[in-house]
């Protein structure tokens, strides 16, 4: 570079190599001070404002904790939250479908019997007040703790049976021990051992103990060359986790349809397409039958930070302002599912339900009949999708139906 030490008029002055930088003394421009003051105020305000966040979040977490163990306090609230969708708020049941509690032989037998029914659920015909019912009641052993079962059983015994016995949580714990791993009560016939003077109960129908085809069993537990085993993702009992769905107790028709849809690209999921393409029709039928007949307690818990009260409202009543009918108006009054098109929702993994609702809303899933779920999911805001998913996860698991129970209403039949 050239060195120009002398200025030439009219020409730009190039600096000399010997120039070393220094600072002149212009004052700080006023706007810089303003900005500094303004940012200082903003920062202080933000700090003050965000102090509240932690309190709010802690409250949310606390609510979540409580929700996980059911917020309801006291027998009446527990009854409304857990029993009333089926047995109705007045305990009258539903004619020809859900037995009444009011004055029923079992409520009259006292809270001990009620607690044992709550802990194990019922899975077989039962006769109450002169009527025979199919008798599919879920177990509440997972959903309620000892104190809650005690409160609820005492409440039911007192309100509907007219007794005065109060059950202690310790007694429930004892009962829980006695009955752990026993499965559901096999209808009124088995319950008869608990209740003296019970009117005769219908016999358990002989269920053909259909052995599991070894090929299907292999598929479920070991997989085959180009297919992972079902159980490796959905769990040994088909209980699912996070956004892997619970399969136990979904109807055979539903599972079959979904597997076919995956295979044909009607429903999109990379994992399941991979699997379904490796299955033939017979295998699909065998798997569907297996999972439809599985009876497994719920492993799902509300986990999405959803508002359970709002979720309950959507599930039970819907939000007609948004054009969303109650979930249960199609999926059955207890979320047990209806037919091949309306899967069971009770105890489904919340992340799975939420992800499916989101997929419908985003147009990634579109195998719902008539586009019913597409429209409904689009209408639900994000918080509502989480709320309803969490609520459904809080419900006890669906007892897997027997095939004949899925039959349509037979008009003119005797029992009607």
């Amino acid at each position: 570079m050239t060195r120009i030490n002398k200025q030439k008029p009219g020409k730009i002055v190039k600096p000399g190599e010997d120039f070393e930088p220094w600072e002149s003394h212009n004052p700080v421009p006023l706007p810089v001070i303003w900005i500094a003051v303004a940012l200082g105020i903003w920062g202080t305000a933000l700090l003050l404002q965000e102090q509240d966040s932690k309190v709010v979040a802690q409250a949310e977490r606390e609510a979540g904790e409580a929700a996980a163990h059911d917020a309801a306090e006291g027998g009446a609230a527990l009854f409304l939250a857990n029993c009333s969708t089926c047995h109705q708020p007045n305990g009258a049941g539903v004619r020809l479908a859900v037995p009444p509690l009011q004055d029923s032989e079992f409520a009259k037998a006292g809270p001990g019997v009620v607690a044992q029914i709550l802990l194990r659920g019922i899975d077989g015909p039962i006769r109450v007040k002169g009527f025979t019912y199919d008798g599919h009641m879920p177990s509440f052993a997972e959903a309620l703790d000892d104190a809650e079962v005690a409160q609820l059983a005492s409440y039911v015994g007192a309100r509907f049976g007219g007794g005065e016995t109060v059950l202690a949580p310790a007694e429930v714990a004892q009962l829980r021990m006695t009955h752990s791993g026993s499965g559901s009560w096999q209808g009124g016939a088995e319950l008869a051992s608990l209740v003296a003077d019970l009117p005769p109960q219908p016999p358990m129908p002989a269920t053909a103990e259909a052995g599991l085809d070894p090929a299907i069993s292999d598929l479920i537990f070991a997989g085959k060359g180009d297919v992972w085993s079902c159980a490796s993702c959905h769990g040994g009992l088909g209980q699912g986790a996070e956004n892997t769905p619970r399969l136990a107790g979904l109807s055979q028709g539903y599972i079959t349809k979904q597997l076919h849809d995956f295979r044909q690209g009607e429903r999109h999921n990379e994992h399941m397409s991979f699997v379904a393409k490796g299955l033939d029709d017979a295998e699909i039928d065998g798997l569907a039958a297996y999972y439809a007949g599985l009876r497994v307690d719920s492993t799902a818990q509300p986990a999405l930070g959803g508002d359970l009260a709002r979720g309950e409202q959507i599930a039970l009543q819907g939000d007609w302002g948004l054009g969303v009918p109650a979930c249960f108006s199609c999926h059955g009054p207890s979320g047990f599912g209806v037919g091949a098109e309306f899967p069971a929702l009770a105890a489904q993994q919340p992340a799975y339900v939420a992800s499916q609702l989101a997929a419908w809303a985003g147009g990634h899933r579109n195998n719902s009949p008539l586009g019913l779920m597409d429209r409904i999911s689009e209408a639900l805001p994000e918080a509502d999708r989480r709320a309803v998913s969490d609520y459904l996860a809080s419900l006890p698991a669906v007892p897997a139906p027997e095939p004949q129970a899925m039959a349509r209403i037979e008009g003119g039949e005797d029992e009607l």
Partner: protein
């Protein structure tokens, strides 16, 4: 507990604010003001009577430069070697993001290792070394005295490069500490610290022996960086005491301070020196320099946890970092006025001087990167940009468009003066400039747009995760194009520098092979 933490939080911010207020008050009441007599001392004890009206001051630098020449030359050479190697790894990593099955036969070639190699080689091999080279060039000059103990930095150079080489080999073998910016195994970190001692000691000695009373602003940044970085590096690399989330806070406290309290002072300091040096006019305002420097120290030191917004760390730490990130507007505006006003008043120099073109482009990028950084730290914006390629774009805006490009200019400025001869092919410098600027523009806009779209997709539950991956692919391809252009620029840079190091009139192409 919440009360104590709230108090702590408030305390910290209030301390920063009070310090800033004190600074402004001090400036306003001329506590720091240099009077005319003070200013006179700036220009050398034995020197002139005062600043000339045209701002030209004469003193003999030849003796000073001669002493620093050897370490500076070695450091620049080492830096360029790692720059080229590091950028090649960067391009490979970038290509792997859209050609995932390419170069996949062995573990050392996998994306995770290529990316770690790229980051560490350019951070420790290139940026740190070239920055230290500038220190050795600039500090003796502004202290008006030759470098003391000039053989020590040569030892430091070899230790440093051995450490970086061993680090690179360690990564390839999969031996890493496993935290971003702290991948070097801690044993090698200690080697780097040792090398650092060999750099710091001569500079401190030089500072103590300085021939001027006043320390020019570049000196503040350099002297502070020289104590900040070793402290940071040592604490963050202490083996065995950090775990879990506490380790994550250390990780990001360190990683962001490496940028803020090491690379930024290196870059800003160099820009503060070379801009007025090339233009031949003083910096706009001493007061703004003060605000810029102390604001950086006060606010930048506490911004690191904005990398963990929405993460498993206490709310108050995150909020603290968010607020301090936004407060960074103040020093950044101060530095921006100081540097850009000086350049903007002398736009002719921009056309005249190629090094200034690099440096002032880099200085503008510093302003932009800092603005972007402050805004990115806001919770609402961060929700979109966090976890996406946008952040990578931002990191390159800071570390590349600002620091690296300033350093290119610095090297182009230093080399002719050190070697006493001109570059053989100024056209190649121009080509280098346009390659890196255009390459970077492609790189940055691709990642910024792609990252924003990716972030929006991830925030929308109704869009599958797959969508957030698929939509970024064209932007990732564009990024590879930009990155390749930048790497070509670096090869030209290497050719230019090696060319001037060889005998005069040497042919550029053979220079590469010769080295």
């Amino acid at each position: 507990m919440p009360i104590t933490m709230g108090l702590l939080l408030a305390l910290s911010f209030v301390v920063s604010l009070l310090a800033l207020a004190f600074l402004i008050w001090a400036i306003a009441t001329r506590q720091f003001a240099l009077d005319r007599a003070h200013a006179a001392t700036v220009f050398g004890k034995g020197g002139a009577d005062g600043p000339d009206t045209d701002g030209t001051h004469l003193f003999d630098t030849t003796g000073i430069d001669k002493v620093s020449a050897r370490p500076v030359r070695l450091l620049i050479l080492g830096a360029i070697f790692w720059l080229v190697l590091g950028s090649v790894f960067g391009v490979i990593a970038s290509l792997k993001l859209h050609w995932p099955d390419w170069l996949n036969m062995a573990a050392p070639l996998t994306f995770g290792r290529m990316r770690a190699l790229h980051l560490n080689l350019v951070a420790y091999g290139w940026l740190s070394q070239i920055g230290i080279a500038c220190m050795f060039w600039i500090l003796p000059r502004i202290f008006r005295t030759p470098l003391r103990a000039p053989h020590l930095p040569v030892i430091g150079f070899w230790l440093w490069n051995i450490a970086v080489t061993l680090g690179a080999l360690a990564f390839a073998r999969g031996w890493t500490d496993g935290e971003e910016w702290l991948e070097f195994p801690w044993q090698l970190d200690m080697l780097l610290v040792l090398a650092g001692v060999f750099f710091v000691v001569p500079l401190v000695k030089t500072a103590r022996a300085r021939e001027v009373d006043h320390i020019y602003v570049t000196g503040w940044y350099y002297l502070a960086a020289m104590v900040w970085f070793p402290a940071l590096f040592f604490i963050a690399n202490l083996p065995g005491i950090h775990y879990g989330v506490e380790e994550a806070t250390v990780n990001w406290w360190f990683a962001h301070n490496v940028l803020g309290l090491w690379l930024t002072p290196l870059g800003v300091g160099a820009a503060y020196y070379f801009i007025p040096k090339i233009i031949g006019k003083p910096i706009y305002s001493y007061s703004l320099s003060l605000i810029g420097f102390w604001g950086l120290a006060l606010f930048y030191s506490q911004v690191g946890i904005h990398h963990l917004i929405g993460g498993p760390v206490p709310t108050w730490v995150v909020t603290l970092s968010v607020v301090h990130s936004v407060m960074m507007f103040i020093p950044v505006i101060a530095v921006a006025i100081n540097q850009h006003v000086t350049v903007a008043r002398n736009l002719w120099a921009f056309k005249e001087s190629l090094p200034l073109r690099f440096i002032s482009f880099g200085a503008v990028m510093y302003t932009l990167a800092s603005f972007q950084g402050s805004i990115e730290a806001l919770r609402s914006v961060n929700s979109i940009t966090h976890f996406t390629h946008y952040t990578v774009g931002h990191a390159h805006l800071g570390a590349y468009a600002f620091v690296s490009i300033v350093m290119f200019g610095a090297a182009y400025h230093i080399m002719p003066r050190m070697m006493g001869r001109e570059f053989a092919h100024p056209g190649l410098i121009r080509l280098h400039f346009w390659l890196v600027v255009l390459g970077f523009a492609i790189y940055f806009f691709a990642l910024t747009i792609g990252g924003t779209l990716q972030g929006l997709a991830m925030l929308d539950a109704t869009r599958s995760f797959a969508e957030s991956v698929i939509l970024t692919k064209p932007y990732l391809e564009a990024r590879s194009v930009g990155g390749t252009m930048m790497t070509l620029g670096h090869i030209l840079f290497a050719i230019n520098i090696l060319g001037i190091l060889r005998k005069p009139r040497a042919v550029a192409q053979s220079a590469v092979a010769a080295e």
